[in-house]
């Protein structure tokens, strides 16, 4: 792919970190506000798509890294489900335990604290990693394999 014009590239340079930050916010605050792993991961993957489309390059991302994110996210998710196996599969063993993400939550309507909800934020992060890796790998494949102008596409 050819890089796009200098206007698009400049805007991409300034917008790119904010899109990534918004995606991370959606993932981390999934148990407090609308959003979660799937949605936040898709937003962060759109930043990768923007960068690939604007710069026309594949140097910043490697398919191996994104595939590692994807597999690692899914493995993290599955192992979190398996750790709670002492009670039941997917048991929320961290909720209310006082440790990581285990603060007691105030009942009723309240803005909420980030350090609550047990395994739910960890699962959100795991799913977010998986979605970023998976969708980013798809964008990378479409951008670099399918529209490669130097070589023949057919094979």
């Amino acid at each position: 792919m050819k890089p796009m014009s200098v206007i698009v590239r400049t805007m991409t340079r300034s917008l790119y970190p904010f899109i990534l930050l918004f995606g991370a916010y959606l993932v981390v605050h999934g148990h407090l506000t609308p959003g979660g792993g799937f949605q936040g991961g898709a937003v962060a993957a759109s930043a990768i798509a923007l960068a690939i489309a604007a710069f026309g390059g594949t140097k910043a991302y490697h398919e191996k890294t994104l595939a590692l994110f994807e597999s690692g996210g899914l493995l993290f998710f599955l192992s979190l489900g398996l750790i709670g196996m002492g009670v039941a599969f997917m048991w929320n063993f961290l909720a209310g335990s006082g440790s990581l993400f285990g603060d007691p939550v105030a009942y009723g309507s309240n803005p909420g604290y980030l350090n609550t909800a047990g395994t739910i934020p960890l699962m959100n992060i795991a799913v977010g990693l998986e979605v970023v890796g998976g969708l980013g790998a798809i964008m990378l494949a479409m951008g670099s394999y399918a529209f490669d102008e130097d070589k023949e596409v057919s094979s």
């Binding site: 999934g30 148990h31 407090l32 506000t33 609308p34 979660g36 799937f38 398919e63 595939a67 994807e70 597999s71 996210g73 899914l74 998710f77 599955l78 489900g81 599969f89 997917m90 929320n92 909720a95 209310g96 993400f101 285990g102 603060d103 007691p104 939550v105 009942y107 009723g108 309240n110 803005p111 909420g112 609550t116 909800a117 047990g118 395994t119 739910i120 699962m123 959100n124 799913v127 998986e130 979605v131 890796g133 998976g134 969708l135 790998a137 798809i138 494949a141 479409m142 394999y145 399918a146 490669d148 070589k151 094979s155």
Partner: protein, 90 residues
């Protein structure tokens, strides 16, 4: 002949749909609320999450979410396999 049969089947189908949509409960007043009430009453206490949707998706029905994540994983693997240039070493 085949066209008229298809049209008749379509009309019957839409008739059933119309009957169903006319007999549905009014918006905001579900008929069976036992499960909704349980989640709303106990969700915050049991999971600690303020977002009840996330509490259901990632805690009560986490098994379903594992399926979703696996579907996404399989889809990505399939797309990467299909888009790869064949038989070429980099």
């Amino acid at each position: 002949m085949r066209k008229s049969i298809a049209l008749g089947a379509l009309l019957i189908f839409f008739g059933f749909l119309l009957v169903a949509i006319m007999n549905i409960h009014s918006f905001g007043y579900p008929t069976n609320t036992a499960m909704d009430d349980y989640f709303i009453r106990n969700g915050q206490e049991q999971t600690g999450a303020n977002n009840i949707v996330t509490a259901i998706v990632f805690d009560y029905r986490g098994y379903d979410t594992i399926g979703e994540a696996t579907v996404l994983f399989t889809a990505v693997a399939g797309v990467l396999l299909a888009l790869r240039k064949g038989g070429e070493e980099e």
